[in-house]
């Protein structure tokens, strides 16, 4: 009987939770801004946001690795001024995951903001409501389905991340050895049963998460 180390699974869900929390704080206001802005270089911004969708994760990981390395000005500045090393660390993984999952939350939320009738905002304005009140009491509650699916997609996507973690995280137990990496590692060492355990947990949890989203959204539409 083999004893399974559940640390990689815990690490995976910790990474996904932290990443999603950060995304909620920055991606929703950003999506709102993107839905309303009239700046000329909006296509440039939109392309940048969507890049992680089309690029191989290894490309993003490669450039982040270069930027984070102490040889690079950014990495060395972080190291010297703040004493932070992002390459091969959990903090580095979080930053990479935020960038990588950004479009998964921005896209549905931006589309939902754009589909809301403009007159809702106008109506709230003439009723004397501030922009903050309008955002939290009128706009956000009316895009709930998109918020839920965006959040869950970003979470699930972070759970499923492999290439980026491989490039910048490596395989350090308790710090960067997430489940997807552990599976690869165990298969390489021919520990198929351990790999199977990690893989099985990911399959089941992903299915459960997605099903909850679809059920909640179906209820919200009714």
């Amino acid at each position: 009987m083999m004893t399974y180390d559940i640390q990689p699974l815990i690490l995976t869900f910790k990474l996904a939770t932290v990443t999603t929390a950060i995304l909620l704080i920055i991606a929703i206001p950003f999506a709102w801004w993107l839905a309303n802005t009239k700046i000329r270089f909006k296509p440039v911004v939109e392309s940048l946001v969507s890049m992680p969708l089309v690029l191989p994760p290894s490309v993003l990981g490669f450039y982040l690795l270069l930027a984070f390395s102490p040889e690079h000005w950014f990495g060395s500045w972080l190291d010297k001024e703040l004493g932070i090393r992002l390459a091969f660390s959990f903090a580095g993984l979080v930053i990479a995951s935020v960038i990588f999952s950004f479009p998964f939350i921005v896209h549905p939320v931006q589309a939902a903001f754009q589909n809301l009738p403009k007159s809702l905002t106008d109506a709230a304005k003439v009723l004397g409501k501030s922009n903050v009140q309008i955002f939290f009491r009128v706009l956000l509650p009316n895009i709930k389905p998109a918020l839920i699916s965006g959040t869950v997609l970003a979470f699930a996507h972070t759970v499923g991340e492999f290439g980026v973690v491989m490039m910048i995280g490596g395989n350090l137990p308790n710090s960067t050895r997430v489940a997807s990496i552990a599976i690869y590692d165990e298969v390489e060492s021919l520990h198929y049963d351990v790999a199977n355990f990690y893989a099985g947990v990911l399959v089941l949890s992903s299915f459960a998460i997605l099903m909850v989203v679809y059920m909640v959204n179906r209820k919200a539409r009714k």
Binding site: P117, S119, L120, D122, A123, A124, K125, V126, L127, G128, K129, S130, R137, V138, P141, N142, K144
Partner: protein
């Protein structure tokens, strides 16, 4: 009192044109903006509410400057205390009927007002429902209640009754008229319905291509000062059949079908589908009062 002078370049269906209007409306007055769609009526309303900015404008309300483009003054819509009824009602889908009206309350006003308005608009039974479950007329009443809940000093109604059937429309006309009189709110309604303008407004501004072409009382404007002794109806020919030495003409006027006779020389010039005007002397008609 409102004094407004607004100038704005607009893009219409037939190229760009200029909205260029000057209005003066007395306190408590009920006026209408009348005209076909796309002449800038809604834009004018939105400029007054502060939802749109004019290229060049000067708007004063009860002596306070709302907009003066030369001095770069533009009071936010939040501070203008305007009640606005949108064409699509713009009810908040996440809130109940009551929630929508409550949301409009200003700080410090009592919730007593909500109950009053809900009672007044006959929304008691519906107050815990979400807007999507309501009919057009019900939504309209909620929108009106919400606009009034914010205690506006100016009420702007953008074609509020266009989606309703005649009976509901007439009931709400009476309702609005009664409210407007009892509260004394200065009110501007956008409409392209002559009977509505007649019934509600004391004064009408007729707009054409961004300008005010005419203004005065509805009676002055629509009958051009002199009452005609003839009925005039425009309609479309549905059928044209010979009948002995004459022709029988079936014409659709509004949603009524009428049959009239035509002389052969008249009928020869006509064909099915033509638009025609029927003119008849209004001498000794039967007058039946409708309940």
């Amino acid at each position: 009192m409102i004094k407004a002078q607004i100038n704005k370049r607009l893009i219409g269906a037939n190229g760009s044109f200029e909205l260029d209007v000057e209005l003066q409306i007395a306190k408590g007055e009920f006026v209408a903006l009348y005209g076909p769609s796309g002449v800038g009526k809604t834009t004018l309303l939105r400029c007054l509410a502060g939802l749109e900015q004019a290229d060049q404008a000067n708007i004063k309300f009860n002596g306070n400057t709302w907009v003066d483009t030369r001095l770069r003054i533009n009071l936010e819509p939040q501070l203008r205390r305007v009640g606005y009824m949108f064409q699509d009602y713009a009810l908040f889908p996440n809130m109940t009927v009551r929630g929508n009206v409550e949301f409009a309350l200003r700080k410090g006003s009592s919730t007593h007002r909500i109950n009053e308005l809900i009672e007044l608009m006959n929304l008691g039974e519906l107050q815990h429902q979400k807007p999507e479950t309501l009919s057009g007329g019900q939504k309209q009443r909620v929108a009106l209640a919400r606009a009034l809940a914010s205690e506006p000093s100016l009420l702007l109604l953008d074609e509020p009754f266009s989606a309703l059937d005649t009976e509901m429309r007439s009931r709400l006309h009476n309702e609005v008229l009664r409210l407007q009189r009892s509260l004394g709110i200065t009110t501007i309604i956008v409409s392209h319905d002559v009977s509505e303008v007649y019934k509600l407004a004391k004064r009408v501004f007729v707009m054409e291509a961004g300008r005010i072409a005419q203004h005065g009382t509805p009676a002055d404007v629509f009958s051009a000062g002199q009452t005609s002794g003839k009925f005039r109806f425009t309609g479309e020919i549905l059928a044209l059949e010979p009948m002995d030495v004459l022709y029988s003409l079936t014409v659709l006027v509004g949603n009524q079908i009428v049959r009239v006779v035509a002389m052969p020389e008249e009928a020869l010039k006509l064909s099915v589908g033509d638009a025609v005007m029927l003119v008849s002397k209004a001498f000794n008609p039967m007058i039946l009062k409708l309940e």
